[in-house]
Symmetry: C2
């Protein structure tokens, strides 16, 4: 192991965000530290030459080859980066070449196609879904609930809001969320707006001790945050979900990505999850 972290550069003609996230996962396989720098919008020969110059400077200064993850569609730009003094991992051509053979098709090498195009239906759906999820956060609005693809239910601070927003942001899924509160438990029924949308309901639950920790960060020492109250609310919410036959998942040890993936698998709202 070297003492200085190795420099990793993400060179992209677009934002490089996906490549950054992806390279982060790969680098996590090595028990050493890295310094990750994103070089976005490298979409002209001039910018490519500047990027190559900077990469070479880093190599010289640090005395080790930087690691470059590149997603460059234009062959000339790509060639310039490949000529730099670095280990270049070409995340684009590595996979495009075998695909060209298998599909018996030439790739378009079109820069525009690699990027977010805000005129697509998919992009518009994402923005619309973000607005929908915000308007329907925390049971704020009962309007247009029929448009929701997913309605999350669970006690306060069980992870409904970040999950709703993630479903919207990543998949353009309109998601509403409703808190289950003591009044619901006393009455013993779901909020009255919800039963008609049974097929869209998904429950989030959470370990009571963990919930108490989270609530204590917000309202330290309150009854709301007490372990006793959290245990009561979680037990009641879980019983209600079971009684009403609502599929559910515990958010205690799961990221919003994992929770969202499970929701899509169960509700099959997104037909593209197995």
């Amino acid at each position: 192991m070297t003492s200085n972290p190795r420099t990793v550069l993400i060179v992209s003609d677009g934002t490089g965000i996906t490549a950054e996230t992806f390279s982060h996962s790969i680098l996590a396989q090595f028990e050493t530290s890295f310094k990750q720098i994103r070089m976005p919008f490298v979409n002209t020969l001039e910018k490519a030459l500047k990027a190559k110059f900077d990469i070479d400077q880093i190599a010289q200064k640090t005395g080790t080859k930087p690691i470059v993850f590149s997603t460059l569609v234009n062959p000339e730009i790509n060639q310039i980066i490949h000529a730099s003094n670095a280990l270049v991992m070409d995340m684009f051509n590595t996979f495009v070449a075998p695909l060209e053979i298998e599909l018996n098709l030439k790739s378009t090498h079109a820069i525009g196609r690699f990027h977010q195009n805000i005129e697509t239906e998919g992009y518009k759906n994402r923005i619309e879904a973000i607005n929908f999820s915000l308007a329907h956060d925390d049971g704020q609005s009962h309007q247009n609930l029929d448009e929701a693809e997913v309605i999350l239910v669970g006690v306060s601070r069980s992870g409904k809001t970040p999950t709703s927003l993630y479903l919207a942001m990543q998949y353009g899924i309109k998601s509403a969320n409703y808190p289950l509160i003591p009044e619901d438990f006393e009455r013993g029924t779901l909020p009255k707006e919800l039963p008609q949308y049974h097929a869209k309901l998904f429950g989030l639950t959470i370990n009571a001790k963990r919930l108490s920790e989270i609530r204590n960060e917000r309202r330290p020492g309150s009854k709301y945050a007490s372990q006793e109250n959290c245990r009561y609310e979680v037990n009641e919410a879980e019983a209600m979900m079971q009684r009403e036959n609502i599929p559910s998942i515990s958010s205690t040890h799961k990221s919003i990505e994992e929770i969202s993936t499970t929701i899509l698998q169960v509700l099959k709202s997104d037909k593209t999850v197995y």
Copy 2:
């Protein structure tokens, strides 16, 4: 070109979301259609055998090899998927192998490391930033503005909210946003809470015609949505940004990913953008 879309499977021991996004970008280089299916959580030999069986079934049914993008850390699971009747693009080993040589280190092959770990500082920051951005959406709260790393300003519907939430969700950046409204233009100064945070301010602007379209979807035929009013507000907002020396970008043709990348480049709030 074949008439039926080729089936593309994303096989992952985690959620497969990053690989899905990435493969989507690569496939966009081909002028043909694909049917993308994500197979998440393939993290046991049993699930791998089931996945292989299903892949082989698709190959047989469609008469063409499916395309598989895999991110499987465990070598035995990986081997099973590689034995399926498909073009397998191994997004993990393709890059791990050359890295092992360059770093002179063995990868850990640890499944857990590849995934979101919700106990990390990074994950906690993301959730905290989402809550912060929601609480500080649309000038709702002036509290704790000193904690914000970015404060977006712009006329209503110029893209501030989705951008704030994206910065939080993707980078754990606490971002507030303030609307610039006719009262501000009449007074001729920024909202009074903002000047002290000048270094964090970033402006979003938008083409007046496009703004009018967006506002008309919400409030058809209103003065608020009229081209004349939109032109007035946009002109005033742009003049104010220039006068106050606030860096800005137009959201008219840019995705939230592109806007966020530019903000980070300019504010250097995220030191890892070049």
